[in-house]
């Protein structure tokens, strides 16, 4: 039986990218924090290791590009859903070329590639929340209406709703999926407002999991064979309050992942990988 829109959280592959040395100084950031490059790289290695070893995904690791200081945040370069991959047009000028390597990697995985060629469109993958039943696209500094329209065109099966990102860099800077029909949301006012709008726009029911820290709401959910519900979340060291909340998810396999350095350049957990389900492809 072929079925669509099932398999939420099922992934077989992940694409990651190494951290260039330029990240420390040149990567975009909303704060003035100093990044310890070595620590950041160590973090990223652990992250990749979790995906590969702990979770058993097939990890494609793209080489770093020194001219693209933000290239580690691969999420922004592509949106993959089912067998279709939309290559984005990142909102930050300096990041546009990040998509080249991504596009090639996705082609190698035999995905249907949709390129965002419209020069008026911008879209960061970090603004795209896929819930399993529909998309929410945050209209942010990085993502505009046109970008969202192209995404809607690329994934015709799904409703694509736009929601405002009032605070934070991306939509997923304060929310993410914590399970099928479970939205993890930061407690911040603007996060809550956005959630409310999402709710209004949706035909579907969701549960919400509110965590104290907006950024702590960014986590990675997977549904893997032999492992069930898996949730990668920030460590207690980083967001103790939020982690307490995650710990109440009894059915989930919880995997804390350190992200102290990447956070300084607005990098959340979801930012560092593009997850793909090759089995879902018809």
């Amino acid at each position: 039986m072929a079925g669509l829109m099932s398999d939420f959280g099922c992934y077989t592959h992940a694409i990651v990218r190494a951290i260039p040395a330029s990240l420390a100084k040149e990567a975009l950031r909303s704060s003035h924090a100093e990044v310890d490059l070595a620590k950041a790289r160590r973090e990223h290695e652990l992250y990749t290791e979790v995906l590969r070893t702990t979770l058993g995904l097939e990890v494609v690791e793209l080489p770093a590009d020194e001219s693209l200081p933000d290239c580690v945040f691969v999420e922004d370069a592509a949106v993959v859903c089912g067998d279709t991959a939309l290559i984005t047009r990142p909102g930050a000028e300096s990041r546009r070329r990040e998509t080249e390597a991504m596009s090639k990697a996705l082609k190698d995985l035999n995905l249907n590639i949709v390129e965002m060629t419209d020069e008026n469109a911008t879209l960061d993958g970090g603004d795209v929340l896929f819930t399993g039943r529909e998309f929410f696209v945050g209209l942010s500094k990085r993502t505009n209406q046109r970008g969202a329209e192209i995404l809607a065109d690329a994934f015709k099966d799904y409703a694509v709703s736009t929601v405002p990102v009032l605070e934070g860099l991306h939509l997923k800077s304060f929310c993410s999926m914590g399970g099928p029909g479970l939205i993890v949301i930061g407690a911040g006012e603007s996060a809550q407002k956005t959630l409310k709008i999402m709710q209004q726009m949706s035909d579907h029911r969701y549960d919400k999991l509110t965590v104290a820290d907006d950024f702590g709401a960014n986590c990675i959910y997977m549904n893997l064979p032999n492992k069930g519900h898996v949730l990668l979340h920030h460590t207690a060291e980083q967001y103790p309050q939020s982690v307490k909340v995650f710990e109440k998810l009894k059915d989930h396999m919880l995997i804390p992942v350190c992200n102290m350095q990447k956070v300084k350049v607005d990098g959340a957990l979801t930012c560092c990988s593009v997850l793909i389900n090759k089995k879902a492809n018809v």
Partner: protein, 1000 residues
């Protein structure tokens, strides 16, 4: 997604048109031939110019209509009518055409039923018939209207389509129902109306193949079997190969299973069952409005930029080419907001509005909660007369036939239509848009005028005809025409109804109101009025909000607001909270429940009727009696679908007033009671009867039709009334225009009703009171009982009542129907429909006396004394007199009804009904007080008259100083209308009649 059907069928149209046209022409040529069967159609000797204009067409129709008195055809009196047979070509879902003959004046239902029979389809409520209008837009046929009125020009070509896409097709009972749904969806997909990804195309395609061709069998099917089928707008070889790959894996899957899988996938598509309409937002940006089972979706390109779940929408309306939705205030908003969209033209706006009303009714009625149901049904009545999804599910669960065998034909459809979603609409849109908005408006207006004229005449004729036949079936036929809002195309009802609608819709906005009033009334509506209304509505709002803030919030909202957020609780918080969709929340208007509850408890109910009659045109909405005074139709939470209802009410009230204006009618209410065995509901009927006799229009007329089945007597009466009503209508071209009913009424239907009952009953109970004279004794006894039964039983009663009642409970018509039943249960029913009752009642009550202007002092006195004295002063005496006089005419009425009318007649002395310019009802209420103000403007012989009838009902457990209340009411009324005089005051006081107070 639903609107546009494949272009393929359209292509055929030209030819068909010619044929049909010929047939039609011929038919027209042989109007007298009693029964032209299908033979005449193909033979087609006659030739007519296809380019007839609408109006001409209309007139033609009229003529034929007149000559044949179509509606009355059933009546034995008429004898054999010439039945013209029309050939209809219906494009079915598999792409084939089905040709059948129907009588020219057959209603849509007839055609629909025939098609469903042909298709062997039982679960047909999800389906409907569409036809193309002049602009090639698809319109849904109204089953309750005659076909010929819905087809202005061209051949009788239709298409059979899914109208309501079931959100969960697996809940359909029969495979055959799913089969047709699949066919519709295939067409939706292939035509591009239902966009989906490549992967989805392959999956859907593979199930289609399995369903139509069975197991993969290369020997039998050949290698290229797939390319003969259509799966996608742009079908590629790659797609076909993928489909074949999947097909191979389905061996052993039955067609029914394959269809189930198909539907399980299709239903998840975001545009499944979304009916798209092109529009522009307030800033002129091109958008699409999508109507679906859960609400209204706003798209810009493919992006969903907003969504309004049905519960979030308080009211939908349209005016000219504007479509408005009034939105329930959110967590942080104080007031409702109204959002307007510009449609390409008036027809598009109306079409959208209708679709919204129907979808809301069909899908929202599902909700298990009783309250929302009621409201929904309220609105639904006019708009959507079919069964709701809940009802159809219930009904289909009763299907016991063995699964029908049916042949699954290979889809004959090819991908002829390159047009994507509503491409045709687009064209249309553009064209229309080119004409400046102003132009459009102007046109419409013109049209309207013309139509109005036509209408009048037509109605007049109809009346006559009906009068002739009245005794037989007049009732039945009439209602749909007059009342149904849906029948836009029909010239007959059109303008009036339309205007009324517009008025209602507009009611939301003060400006709009002005507009509508302006248009309608010759008399210029005082601006004050509007302002007043506005302020009142604001008051009301604030009032509502204070009291009902909580209910107004969505579950979702509540949770959000209480969400742990950064609060200390966050730590312990269980965290996972269900986010409930707004849909989840019920539409219950906050105010409703409380108010209802209050009612039952109330021991005493006192009603004061103060009537003002002024010769001058001055109108002030004095409605707000108390500090709490809330009024205006606008306010109601339930307005939402109320439009239909409201209109009805309005019409009713108007009619009632019409009656009044002539002078005699006021006592009708009471009489009615008598006749019908004491039920309040009866009142209405009685009114009708009375009216009919009295030559005055009765509101009941249309509505009564439903009643017919129940009581023969009622029917007759209605008949009479109907005919008369019609006349009135004719006279007043602009009559309907403004009626504004208060949403309020809707909310607290029970309250008011009860009160009314109470009052009446009271009269009955206490022999002392003059009231007694009004109410026949018989009535009294029963009435009291009824009252006791009242509130709670309502629901039950409804259930027991016929299907129609359930659906339309709120509608005036239903009420009447129930009324005839005379049993206490009926009364209950009426409770549900209280709103309409109120209106009518008000009208009547107020009616009593034009002539006698009673000094206010007296009135006050009366008040003091209790109701009895008051009555005695004015009405009572009159009544008595009247009884003698009028009884004779009232033949139809069983009981003492007669009495009233006569009295009225005397009082009025003025037979001339005058022309009703406008009627307005405003209701405001507080916990213990309900104030209803009914304003009628009429013109008689060049003199315009404005009547304001104010009804105040005070309910409470405790003793109320009624005298003071009355004095206060009169005082206020005077202050509000210094230039008007008080002509009548009626006081009814009811003390717990029934032991059943405790009900609630």
């Amino acid at each position: 997604m639903t609107t546009e059907s494949g272009a393929a069928s359209e292509a055929k149209q030209p030819q068909e048109n010619k044929e049909t046209e010929k047939g039609k022409a011929k038919a027209a040529a042989e109007p007298t031939s009693p029964q032209n069967q299908s033979e005449q159609l193909p033979a087609a000797t006659g030739h007519s110019t296809p380019a007839r204009k609408d109006q001409e067409q209309q007139e033609g129709d009229q003529v034929s209509h007149r000559s044949s008195t179509s509606r009355l055809s059933r009546s034995p009196l008429k004898g054999v009518k010439k039945t013209k047979i029309m050939e209809c070509k219906v494009s079915l879902l598999d792409g084939s055409d089905f040709t059948l003959n129907v009588e020219k004046r057959a209603k849509g239902q007839v055609l629909f039923d025939k098609i469903c029979d042909h298709l062997n389809l039982l679960e047909k409520d999800y389906y409907g018939i569409t036809c193309r209008d002049v602009e090639n837009q698809k319109n849904w046929l109204d089953p309750s209207k005659e076909l010929k009125k819905q087809i202005r020009t061209g051949p009788w070509n239709f298409a059979f389509n899914v109208k309501f896409y079931p959100p969960d097709p697996s809940q359909l009972t029969e495979d055959i129902t799913r089969y047709y749904l699949c066919q519709q969806l295939r067409d939706d997909v292939v035509s591009g109306r239902l966009p989906c990804s490549f992967a989805t195309h392959t999956v859907l395609g593979s199930y289609t193949v399995q369903s139509e061709l069975g197991d993969y069998d290369p020997e039998e099917l050949g290698s290229d079997y797939i390319s003969e089928l259509r799966f996608a707008p742009n079908q590629t070889k790659e797609l076909e190969e993928k489909v074949m790959e999947l097909h191979k894996t389905y061996k052993g899957m039955t067609p029914a299973e394959a269809e189930m899988h198909f539907l399980e996938n299709a239903k998840k598509l975001s545009m499944y069952g979304v009916d798209l309409h092109h529009a522009k937002d307030s800033e002129g940006v091109e958008i699409m409005l999508g109507v679906c089972s859960s609400g209204l979706l706003i798209y810009r390109d493919r992006l969903r930029i907003n969504r309004f779940a049905w519960p979030k929408i308080l009211k939908i309306s349209y005016k000219r080419n504007n479509f408005y939705i009034k939105i329930r205030p959110g967590e942080f908003e104080q007031f409702e907001s109204t959002i307007g969209f510009k449609l390409p033209n008036h027809r598009a706006a109306k079409r959208l509005w209708k679709v919204c009303v129907e979808h809301h009714t069909f899908f929202r009625l599902i909700s298990p909660e009783c309250q929302p149901k009621k409201f929904l049904s309220l609105g639904s009545k006019f708009r959507y007369s079919g069964r709701t999804q809940a009802q159809t599910r219930r009904a289909s669960s009763m299907i016991i036939r063995p699964a029908p065998l049916f042949e699954r034909s290979t889809s004959k459809r090819y991908n002829m239509s390159l047009s994507l979603d509503g491409a045709p609409i687009m064209e249309n849109h553009e064209t229309l848009m080119k004409d400046s908005a102003a132009d459009g408006a102007a046109k419409i207006i013109t049209k309207g005028d013309i139509i109005t004229t036509v209408t009048t005449e037509k109605k007049a004729e109809e009346e006559k005809a009906e009068q002739d036949d009245a005794q037989t079936d007049a009732v039945e036929t009439q209602e749909p025409t007059a009342t149904t809002p849906l029948r836009h195309d029909t010239k007959t009802d059109s303008e009036q109804t339309d205007f009324a609608f517009d008025g209602d819709m507009t009611a939301t906005e003060s400006e709009a109101d002005d507009d509508s009033e302006m248009r309608t009334q010759d008399t210029s509506p005082p601006e004050e009025m509007v302002k007043h209304q506005t302020s009142i509505s604001e008051l009301k709002r604030s009032f509502l909000e204070t009291g009902e803030s909580t209910p107004g919030m969505t579950e979702w909202e509540k949770r959000l607001s209480s969400s742990p957020a950064r609060s200390p609780k966050a730590e312990e918080a269980p965290m996972i909270e269900p986010l409930e969709l707004q849909d989840t929340k019920d539409e219950q208007p906050a105010g409703e429940k409380p108010s209802k509850e209050v009612e039952p408890k109330a021991t005493e109910a006192a009603g004061y009727l103060v009537k003002y009659v002024v010769d001058s045109i001055t109108t002030d909405l004095a409605s707000s009696s108390g500090p709490h005074g809330i009024s205006l139709s606008t306010t109601m939470d339930d307005d939402v679908f109320m439009d239909g209802t409201l209109r009805e009410v309005d019409e009713v009230s108007e009619r009632a007033e019409t009656k009044v204006s002539p002078g005699a009618v006021r006592q009708e209410v009471f009489q009615a009671i008598t006749d019908k065995k004491g039920t309040l509901i009866i009142l209405k009927e009685a009114d009708d009867k009375v009216d009919a006799e009295g030559k005055e229009t009765s509101a009941a007329g249309e509505e009564k039709e439903p009643v017919i089945p129940e009581e023969a007597e009622a029917e007759e009466i209605e008949m009479l009334s109907t005919s008369k009503e019609i006349e009135y209508i004719n006279e007043d071209t602009s009559v309907v225009v403004e009626a504004k009913t208060t949403a309020r009424k809707m909310q607290s239907p029970k309250m008011e009703i009860k009160t009314d009952d109470m009052t009446q009953i009271k009269g009955t109970d206490s022999p002392k009171k003059a009231m007694a004279s009004w109410i026949p004794e018989v009535v009294k006894t029963e009435a009291s009982e009824v009252i006791s039964v009242a509130t709670k039983e309502v629901k039950q009663t409804k259930a027991s009542d016929a299907m129609q009642q359930e659906e339309e409970i709120f509608t005036f018509e239903e009420v009447q129907t129930e009324l005839p039943k005379s049993s206490p249960s009926q009364i209950t029913v009426s409770g549900s429909s209280a709103t309409s009752l109120e209106v009518s009642t008000l009208g009547w009550v107020s009616c009593s006396e034009k002539g006698p202007a009673e000094p206010e002092e007296k009135m006050a006195v009366a008040t003091e004394t209790e109701a009895a004295p008051a009555e005695s002063t004015g009405p009572t005496g009159l009544d008595v007199v009247e009884v003698g006089t009028k009884e004779a005419p009232v033949v139809h009425t069983e009981t003492k009804t007669t009495t009233y009318e006569s009295a009225e007649a005397d009082t009025n002395g003025d037979v001339d009904p005058g022309v009703l310019l406008s009627a307005q009802t405003i209701t405001s209420e507080t916990t213990s007080t309900t104030t209803t103000t009914h304003i009628t403007k009429t013109v008689k012989g060049g003199i315009s008259e404005t009547r304001i009838e104010k009804r105040i009902v005070i309910t409470g457990d405790t003793d109320i100083d009624h005298d003071q209340a009355l004095a206060q009411a009169i005082k206020e009324a005077k202050e509000q209308h210094p230039d008007m005089s008080v002509t009548k005051v009626v006081v009814h006081k009811e003390t717990e009649i029934t032991p059943e107070e405790g009900e609630d």
